[in-house]
Subunit: 385 residues, 2 copies
């Protein structure tokens, strides 16, 4: 199997970006990515674009808006989609483009412009990424799905509302240190605990954000990577798993089959296990999702996720630092960009360029990105050497 | 580079399928595909789903609806999209999954349920796959885009309305011989010429259809292909090109840069030229699009496309038989399924299973699939041995 590395990273500012269109957002990220790699767009062979929702961007084939605006044609580009995991699907497809021998230098672009529609409509569009036959039509949107999951986890494992709130406190703390984050402010445990209830037990600060943003990565084949970058970040393992859309069709509410499947594949391919991971970004669309990710990824035993955050083991300096870029919770969650942004944070950590958020001697990193309420999960494992 | 072959094909009935949902349509095609390969779904490693429009299917991540309904989880599946070329993007991604070494047996599923919305809304959704800033908002939909292209071709090359109508006559003739086609009826030249004008010079019979339908292909690695199929169809070349969305930004209206780029790449990879192609399916969303495809693919000189159809050289028995399955024009055009359906017709031809539409001794075939008004084009070349 061919080796593929990240040789360029570019991250736009996440937030309510009324100053920029979808096209302008991605231009910003692509420009930063090429500057980081020290290359011009002319040198890139091929491209993959991740955009989750047609309805945010008002047009099928948003990938064409992107390659048109940045001036990439006549070279190859198309769109991939996996709801909230779209950015990781783009990275996986970019990796396949090189590993299959079709190209040597591939641009992976992820973008979403979610505030173009009212919040209620964004919530509705995302809601339809849940089960659109038996759940969404009866009124469930994402806070509802994850509230059911949280209640089940509390009942089965004794996880507390306070433990969930501690995930928010951690991620807001790290978001305050990330200049690209939507929410650059710390919160107290009391503030999180006393914020209004969205869907019990989830409160305002248990929920991630509606975000505009873009992120871009340049991938290179082994031969090209070493010439381009002094600090290539190698993609060592890839995993992708799926599940039913409807929560009621799943064996368990407190563990995601899609994540367990993706983790098994990715760990095996990379030849490592959970204890080898030095730093991770996981899918914290709601605080309970981060707790469950700890367990499904093997960072702790099943049911022990609440205790892991309570013991601060997922802070920098802890056993396994998680979402030290702020996570979806505080950095923001522009669906198509999120997976790409996760891989950028891991790249910064492995390149030792994460500044005040740096995990010491990080050599192996992992990203975990979930689509919908768990019907898709993608995991990537990265190595410094 | 690893060799990849088509070892199973399954084609659903195209048409107004008020009897079936998106999920049921794809089940029909996948079942037929697995039966053709003589395998069960359990044996398949991975999957790619092509669906063009979220707004037809009322939900982001339609791929999850598909893997859920057919029972494919926990294995990998995600969605790809390239407007009208979505099916070919799925085939390309399926090929990459095997060629990159991630899997040995990959299911490629393409589906669209377009009649779920009123025709006016379908026209609007598709219209937004054109330039959504400077063209569509001022009232242009697809017949308008291609009418401008047709007028330019008539002015530059003397192509006639009658020559365009002859494309429709041919494709309806072959559609009448294809049990999966939406329109199984022949038309006369007079009927085509006297049908009402949609956007001058394009008349009713110059336009393709709004269609529900699904198609599925099973791809295998070289080692697996020979064991599964006595008649594997090898993917010998792949090309993908792009262009601007806005017609006004292009150097020419009468030739598609995206197609020329994709053709150059695919011919080179396969080590063949236009004269080596025995049978082709090309993107005849409008009759003028087939004429331009003849030229851009090198089946005739620039400007000679009208004469090629007039001389019946693209019928079975002619120099280069094109769209002898009825094409988008008569077989129908369910966006996500079209590219997969094209590859199925070429597979049938190379397997000598095309019945009354069989091209004698067909050894090398080509598919050509365009997204939007030409901002994306994918070409695949197939070989019998």
């Amino acid at each position: 199997m061919k080796k593929v590395a990240i040789v360029g990273i570019g991250h736009g500012k996440f937030g309510v970006r009324s100053d920029a269109s979808l096209r302008e957002l991605i231009f910003e990220a692509v420009k930063a990515c090429l500057d980081d790699a020290g290359l011009s767009l002319k040198e890139v062979d091929s491209m993959v674009t991740g955009v989750a929702g047609d309805e945010f961007s008002f047009g099928i084939q948003p990938s064409a808006q992107v390659h048109d605006y940045i001036g990439f044609h006549p070279r190859a580009n198309f769109r991939v989609e996996g709801a909230c995991a779209t950015g990781s699907v783009a990275l996986r497809t970019g990796w396949m483009t090189i590993a299959s021998g079709l190209a040597d230098l591939v641009l992976v672009a992820g973008v979403e412009k979610m505030t173009e529609v009212p919040t209620s409509m964004a919530t509705e569009i995302m809601g339809r990424a849940g089960d659109a036959t038996w759940e969404y039509p009866f009124g469930t949107t994402f806070p509802g799905y994850y509230a059911m999951i949280a209640n089940a986890h509390m009942a089965e494992h004794g996880t507390t509302e306070e433990q969930l709130a501690r995930v928010a406190v951690k991620n807001h703390y790290y978001g305050s240190l990330n200049p690209y984050a939507q929410m650059q402010k710390e919160i107290t445990l009391d503030k999180a605990m006393t914020s209004f209830t969205v869907a019990y037990p989830l409160k305002l600060y248990d929920c991630s954000l509606i975000t505009d943003g873009a992120a871009a990565i340049l991938l290179a084949s082994e031969e090209r990577a070493k010439a381009i970058s002094k600090k290539p970040v190698w993609i060592a393992g890839l995993g992708c798993g799926t599940d039913s859309m409807r929560l009621g069709d799943r064996k368990s509410l407190t563990s995601l089959q899609a994540t367990r499947e993706a983790a098994k594949t990715a760990y095996k391919m990379a030849g490592v296990g959970p204890s080898d991971i030095d730093v991770a970004t996981v899918h914290d669309c709601f605080t309970i999702a981060e707790v469950i990710a700890y367990e499904d990824l093997g960072f702790c035993e099943k049911g022990e996720g609440g205790k892991l955050i309570e013991a601060k083991e997922t802070y920098v300096g802890g056993r396994i630092p998680v979402n030290v870029d702020g996570g979806l919770k505080s950095k923001g969650h522009p669906l198509g960009a999120t997976g790409v942004s996760m891989a950028i944070e891991i790249s910064k950590q492995l390149r030792e360029e994460a500044g005040p958020r740096q995990v010491k001697d990080a050599e192996i990193g992992l990203t975990h990105n979930v689509g919908g309420s768990g019907q898709l999960s993608l995991i990537h494992i990265f190595r410094r050497e």
